[in-house]
């Protein structure tokens, strides 16, 4: 006898969830690209796509991180929590496309290994504009990859719950690295306060709200879902 795993146990809710997720991401990419072409007509298509996928991944990561606290505040957000792992995989895929486009555009074409180029192409000269922000993004992408690859009951069961949860808590490290990636990357060149304000809003939303909720609510409430998952060896989403 043995447990037989299937790749995804599809049901109506999961299909609906993924349809909404994919539609939302596609709509974001279309609107972002359209606005970029409208407001910045000289931006090349590669840069437009790099920005669209990067912004999409970053925004989706904010949503993913805020889903948990929002569900504790209001049960109407619970449908977002269901199958959140698919949103995480989507976030990784968006980040991967962003990274591939960046590597092809900026790091390929020389005799230096493109991956190595990410780490050696910039020299830190003690200023904010010379911080090697590409490296932050690459490390964050590796973390997101590990999380996406193990977002399955098979890995939850085989890695054991503590190990699996410890690995997936690395999302906060990935988030911190991505904030650094954005702060010392695109925000160094873009002077508009709109971009700065948007990122600042996201940082405050993720760090302060999650922190305050974690401290304010009793453990039985905050960790009820987690404890159920870990004790049963299965995730709810």
């Amino acid at each position: 006898m043995g447990v037989q795993y299937t790749s995804v146990q599809w049901n109506r809710q999961k299909k609906l969830y993924d349809a909404v997720l994919v539609s939302g991401v596609a709509a974001f990419l279309v609107v972002f690209s359209g606005l970029t072409k409208l407001l910045f007509p000289r931006v090349t298509d590669e840069i437009m796509l790099i920005r669209a996928f990067g912004a999409g991944a970053f925004l989706l990561l904010h949503i993913i991180l805020c889903i948990g606290p929002l569900c504790r505040l209001n049960s109407r957000f619970l449908p977002l929590l269901y199958n959140r792992r698919h949103a995480g995989v989507m976030c990784f895929l968006l980040g991967l496309i962003h990274a591939v486009l960046v590597i092809v555009t900026y790091h390929a074409g020389s005799d230096t290994n493109p991956i190595l180029s990410i780490f050696v192409s910039g020299t830190f000269a003690g200023t904010a504009g010379t911080v090697p922000f590409h490296a932050f993004g690459f490390i964050a992408l590796v973390i997101l990859f590990l999380m996406a690859a193990t977002s399955h009951d098979f890995w939850l069961a085989n890695l054991t719950a503590p190990m699996w949860k410890a690995l997936h808590m690395a999302v906060y490290v990935a988030y911190a690295l991505l904030v650094l990636h954005v702060t010392f990357g695109v925000l160094q060149g873009e002077g508009s306060p709109v971009y700065v304000g948007a990122v600042a809003l996201g940082v405050v939303a993720v760090t302060r709200r999650c922190k305050s909720l974690a401290e304010a609510l009793p453990p039985s409430v905050v960790w009820r879902g987690l404890a159920m998952n870990c004790e049963t060896g299965r995730a709810t989403a």
Partner: protein, 215 residues
Amino acid sequence: MTLALRKRHRRLFAVLGVALPVVFVAGIAARKPIPTMAILPNGLSQSPSRSSEMVRDFLGTYPLGVRLFRDAESQAAWSVQIIARFPPVGPDLLVYWIPATQTLSRNLPDDARLLGAFVPEMAFALPPESVSNRGRLLLYSLANQEVLEASNDFVAAATTARADSPLLAFNILPATLEAARSRTLGWNAMHQLDASPRRAAAPICGQPLPRDQEE
């Protein structure tokens, strides 16, 4: 296990909740404006001669303005100054002059004359043949190896004599055009407008614009 995770979670947020906003604010506060070169290296720049001037806008749909200068001492020496309300996006931009007989394409013609590396408000000396021959300005991206923008064709010496030329009738910088319309100004008056103290204080190659030198 739950308590251990909760402790780890709390420690993580204790660090992130403080460190991340601090680093973010520090990173934003340490931003510096995109550096520009006040003076280009030799071979890529030519200082404009002291001249009289008028305002023109050559570069089609893109919001670039062009001022045309004529040297006050040597009437045959002309130069252009490109003013970008919104700097063009493109790596390693160079400014070229080409004869109007050349067909425009993404590639740089063989007989294009390099005027210099594009720096907003930098003035470039026009080649002697542009004074009497019709030609146009090109904005060329050296890194992308493509022509980004081309101006309308013009003859440097002829533009001063034709106040009602099509070049003057459209493609002028909107702000300049509005000012000219509101005062019902002609070419000579636009010359005055351009020689106002506000304009005269604008730098060219690190030097203030010469005050009005009427022809």
